[in-house]
């Protein structure tokens, strides 16, 4: 009932990567978000080299410098651009180091969950029958509970710590990947190239992982981007609640929690700047993810 069929495929020919980038870049927000995110990742990676102080080296701290407002000078000669916390830690340095943990846990858990979830989803779709039913039942059960509850329960059981947080996040996240992977795989499974692979009597795992998987990737990439943002936010929340990473390896969430008590006495910078860093990171990832979804999902194209 719409424009005649010949209206389809009006875009000129170009390589698929080129077209992908062109479509992605059609939103200035998305490009901006990607740029900022790259800066953040680089800052986190090169933290020891770019921060004026290592906030976890007790030798570098001077408690006399505690709770100084942003812009104050330090005894060692550099400026506390973002102020200090009660221990005399430079907030800028603490923030960048905190980013490391936040990003590390967030991205790491998303990757592991992605591998586990995608694998299970593909297996469920490919083998069907009872395997499919069992896996999907698990997925449904998992997804019917809010992520925070699942994470809380796991942490209640296994205790705090970075690896435990990663574990909790992985358990929370795998189901999203599994469901999407299975959905896409079910459609792809019927395509001719899978039939071709099967008729060549390739071992099943090769068919699934070398042929099926690459074609299921687009929606999974979209999911992955949102999952990273969720994981970072969830980890921050858990740490804020005191159930996440330990004090020795504080993520942004823990830094914020730390500064919360000083809020009421007007020393906002201890919470605010880590908060802004967290915010910017998550928003950038979500903006990029939004655009990725519009580009990779043919139905969402307007």
């Amino acid at each position: 009932m719409n424009a005649p069929e010949s209206l389809a495929a009006l875009a000129p020919d170009e390589s698929s990567i080129g077209r992908f980038w062109r479509e992605f870049a059609s939103s200035r927000f998305a490009v901006g978000g990607l740029a900022v995110f790259c800066i953040i990742v680089l800052a986190a990676l090169f933290a020891p080299w770019i921060t004026p102080q290592n906030p976890y080296d007790l030798m570098q701290l001077d408690i006399v410098d505690g709770r100084l407002p942003p812009g104050s000078a330090s005894a060692a000669g550099y400026t506390y651009w973002l102020g200090t916390d009660e221990q005399g830690r430079d907030m800028l340095s603490a923030m960048i180091y905190g980013l490391r943990i936040s990003l590390g846990v967030g991205i790491g858990s998303a990757i592991v969950a992605g591998i586990v979830g995608t694998g299970l989803g593909l297996i469920a779709a490919y083998f069907g029958g009872r395997t499919d039913a069992a896996i999907m039942r698990l997925v449904d059960l998992q997804l019917s509970f809010p992520s925070i509850l699942v994470a809380l329960m796991i942490l209640a059981a296994v205790g705090k710590g970075v690896m435990n947080v990663v574990l909790a996040l992985v358990i929370v996240e795998w189901a999203y990947y599994a469901r999407t992977a299975r959905g896409t795989a079910l459609v792809e499974r019927r395509r001719e190239y899978i039939e071709a692979a099967e008729s060549l009597a390739l071992p099943k795992w090769r068919t699934v992982f070398l042929h099926l998987l690459p074609n299921c990737l687009p929606p999974l990439i979209v999911i992955a981007s949102f999952q990273v943002a969720r994981a970072i936010a969830l980890e921050a929340t858990l740490s804020f609640l005191g159930l996440g990473v330990p004090v020795t390896e504080p993520s942004l969430g823990l830094l914020i929690a730390n500064g919360f008590q000083y809020m009421l006495s007007g020393k906002y910078w201890i919470s605010l700047y880590p908060g802004i860093a967290l915010l910017v990171t998550i928003v950038c990832i979500n903006i990029v993810g939004d655009q990725l979804r519009d580009v990779l999902n043919p139905r969402a194209r307007k």
Binding site: I148, M153, A236, G242, I256, N286
Partner: protein, 324 residues
């Protein structure tokens, strides 16, 4: 129809039973089952006594049945910290959490649906673009951070609203609610807004997507061909179609909202179930944890059942199938 309800209720019950097994096994296997019901500070004599008294020296399956029987009698053990029946503790805090969650959902729906409708009908308008961009920020912001910001701006800097805690309550239907007092509302506003933000973005985007999916459908074009005014097309044809998925999502979000209230309650020191559970996890007050889990499971299952029922009532295609 009643046959269908019966079947679904049975399903729900089996889920609850399954979850009770999981909870029981998880708590028994991961921790020392004795510690489940005994305070860590008890001495050996007391331990032995309680172990025998509670039948913890019996095989696991029999312990499970005792556990189940205890549940049906409402006995989840006593909290270590408060030395009160843990179920009672949880249920006492339930109204506070519930009113927070309901207030949050109310805000999300009242603001989210009209905005989403507008953004879906006029996607190119400036207002729509701003709203959609803001909604990305809305669901990106971690709830706790927004809460902190709200306190900082409205309480500390501007002094308009109280910082933390629940306001005065009044008894309605035998339960204390702060929703119905002016002071209560003042205290409820920020936490509810905080909790609502995420849901609001969700509802908004959902509504917009639903409208955009519905508008190009043939029956909309047919309605226009009949000469229906644009207003009528939207209110009669579009709205009824999008209401079904929206209502179901919102219903399901109620459970999630109650769970996420944990964070808001921590930030605003709101005396609900959530704050209790966080404290309990930190102090390893296991009976309370177990009681909380089971209450949540029952709650969720009940919500799912009701939403399912609602969906069946609203969507004529499904309803007629259910009626057989």
């Amino acid at each position: 129809m009643s046959h269908w309800i019966f079947r679904r209720a049975l399903q729900a019950l089996s889920v609850i039973v399954a979850m009770s097994v999981i909870v029981f096994v998880a708590v028994s296997v991961i921790g020392n089952p004795v510690d489940l019901l005994i305070s860590p500070s008890a001495d050996l004599a007391e331990r032995t006594r309680v172990v025998a008294g509670l039948g913890l020296d019996q095989p696991l399956w029999r312990q499970y049945f005792n556990f189940l029987r205890g549940i049906t009698e409402g006995n989840f053990g006593r909290s270590f910290v408060y030395n009160e029946p843990s179920l009672k503790l949880i249920l006492q805090r339930f109204p506070a959490t519930f009113e927070l969650a309901v207030a949050a959902l109310l805000i999300a729906v009242v603001i989210g649906i009209p905005l989403g409708l507008y953004a879906g009908l006029r996607p190119e308008a400036k207002v729509s673009r701003i709203v959609m961009a803001t909604s990305i920020v809305g669901f990106s912001l971690p709830t706790f951070w927004v809460g902190i910001m709200l306190i900082m701006i409205f309480s500390v800097q501007l002094g308009w609203l109280p910082t933390t805690g629940r306001g005065a309550t009044v008894a309605v239907l035998g339960v204390e609610w702060s929703f119905f007092t002016a002071d209560g509302l003042r205290h409820l506003l920020m936490p509810a807004l905080n909790l609502a933000l995420f849901k609001l973005s969700l509802v908004l985007r959902l509504t917009r997507a639903a409208v955009q999916e519905t508008l190009p459908m043939d029956f909309i074009k047919f309605a226009r061909a009949q000469g229906l005014s644009p207003a009528r097309v939207v209110w009669v044809h579009v709205l009824k179609n999008i209401m079904i998925p929206i209502v179901t999502v919102i219903g399901l979000e109620l459970g999630s909202t109650i769970a996420f209230a944990v964070v808001t309650e921590s930030v605003f020191a709101w005396p609900g179930m959530g704050k209790l559970i966080i404290d309990s996890i930190n102090t390893l007050d296991r009976p309370v944890i177990v009681a909380y889990l089971m209450v949540i499971v029952v709650l969720f299952t009940a919500i799912n059942l009701i939403v399912d029922l609602l969906y069946t009532l609203l969507d004529p295609r499904v309803r007629l199938e259910a009626q057989g």
